[in-house]
């Protein structure tokens, strides 16, 4: 959340001579940047809603009310809920041991946590096919016990877990590190138990960052395409998430209006995510201003 500190700095910055462009150069730079952002970001967004509503509201609603679309929404909900819950638990534990303690191998651990960000989603899906697919390591055993992971919901959850793995941890680690350990030590020396300290001192101090991480994790989990595509059998009404449904509809099975109608759901999710992010940064910003207004304690 360095953006928070940044916007505070920007607010106090004053313009000076010698560090400014000519007014006309500045206007040209601003106008061209805004035109570019409009074409590459705003037009594609507006296009999603325009295409979805091109033939009117009724076809749009019919596409959303389709039984297979409803199933896809449920699948996406289940996948996202499981991934967020598990990666949240991981983020909380990993950030505690990494931010509050010194130990050997910490840099390696941090790099390994980052690894899923740089692995192609398609490769991520393939990793689980190699483990649990019919020709994979555990394939014969799973087959014999009639357990379905690949081409079924568990595989789709595993693939989503992998691609969203670092989100919560990466958001929390720098925040907890910057808080230091003095607050917790003070609480414990006053007789608080470890749990009380964590719930009442540590978590409240990072609550906005935590929410932000959860939100990013959720947005990516609901929107993941490549990794889930590889491990899913892609059957409408059974193993189709919302992004897969968009792909299958676009292939011609349902026409482009239906594909865009379903896409509006995810475009709306993206807009909500951006709005929440802006709001969270604003809240964190206010907390920072409040904290800096309080008199400093001498240690």
């Amino acid at each position: 959340m360095s953006a928070i500190v940044r916007s505070r700095l920007a607010a106090t910055k004053k313009s000076r001579r010698g560090s400014e462009e000519h007014p006309w150069a500045r206007r040209a730079l601003i106008a061209s940047a805004m035109v570019f952002l409009f074409v590459i970001l705003v037009v594609p967004l507006v296009n999603v809603f325009f295409q979805a509503l091109e033939t009117g509201v009724m076809p749009y609603l019919r596409a959303l009310g389709d039984a297979n679309t409803v199933t896809a929404i449920a699948m996406t909900g289940m996948t996202a809920l499981s991934s967020v819950a598990l990666n949240l638990a991981f983020g909380l534990t990993a950030s505690w041991c990494i931010a509050k303690f010194q130990f050997k191998g910490k840099a390696l651990l941090l790099t390994l946590i980052d690894l899923p960000f740089s692995v192609s989603p398609v490769v991520a899906g393939l990793l689980y096919v190699v483990l649990f697919g019919r020709q994979g390591f555990f394939g014969p055993w799973l087959d014999a016990h009639d357990i379905h992971i690949i081409f079924a919901l568990p595989g789709m959850i595993l693939a989503t877990l992998f691609v969203t793995f670092p989100f919560v941890a990466r958001e929390l680690i720098p925040l907890l590190e910057s808080e230091g350990t003095e607050q917790e030590q003070a609480a414990m020396s006053l007789g608080a138990t470890g749990w009380q300290t964590y719930w009442r001192v540590t978590l409240p101090s990072v609550k906005w960052g935590l929410l932000y991480g959860v939100m990013l994790c959720n947005a990516r989990a609901m929107g993941e395409f490549g990794a889930v595509y590889v491990v899913s059998s892609n059957i409408a009404g059974k193993t189709e998430t919302v992004p897969l449904r968009i792909f299958n509809l676009d292939l011609g099975l349902g026409g482009h209006v239906a594909a865009f109608a379903v896409a509006t759901l995810l475009a709306f999710l993206a807009l909500v995510t951006l709005a929440l992010k802006t709001w969270l940064e604003h809240r964190q910003n206010q907390d920072l201003i409040l904290a800096s207004a309080l008199p400093k304690h001498e240690h």
Binding site: I98, F101, T111, V122, I246
Partner: protein
Amino acid sequence: MSQRNRSGLPGFHLTLGYTLLYLGIIVIIPVGGLFVRAAQSPFQELWRLAMNDKAIAAYQLTFGCSLIAASINAVVGTWIAWVLSRYEFPGRRIADALIDFPFALPTAVAGLTLAKLFDPHGWLGSALAALGIQVVLTAKGIILALTFVGLPFVVRALQPVIEQLELEAEEAAASLGAHRGYTFRRVIAPALFPAILTGFAMAFARAVGEYGSVIFVAGNKPYVSQIAPALIVSYLENFEYDGAIAVALVLLILSMLLLLSVNLLERWSSRFLR
């Protein structure tokens, strides 16, 4: 792992234990599994699958288009970051919030809408078609999709650096008679360079692995628009697991090297931040 617990806080072994367990199950065992599976196949067979004509064409498209897209992002990102952090103008905050839109928008939706826009009959594609430029189902479509998904990286890497620049240095240069352009080249650009490079590397790493948006815009035609992740999917759909594993191994090793270089770059560029 030995611990020096100066803080006296509880829970170290419990949380580290869970962290390693979960990391092992979700990341280390699956990644290790791919290497073990590859080691079980004859090396020559694997090499043939990873380095045949179709695969080489796919790597060239993947890395070539990623390089072009990341370069576009470096130039455009520097310009946008400068405008957003140096100037105050109506709509600046909305534009700043919108920068993260490609991060928030699922790649399938990005691909779907870009494909429609740049279709020869679409809003933007028809204008380009009049100029004889075809975007969808070509390498240009790959570059378009990769530029879109990588847009935020350079902007977000640069903004904190631009805001912490010493304005005094620029004023000193101006008072010594330097033109604004000269000041930018000799005073500002060197300070921004490490962050631009970090953003470039992150956009490149993301582009190399991208699949969702590209498949919508460029399709999956061997030698023309088939990127390496799409080749893996093609192998899997034909149940040719060895081919998929061979190409995935190449991508995985390269993405590990990229992660390493991004980490080193970040450490290097953070020295330039106060």
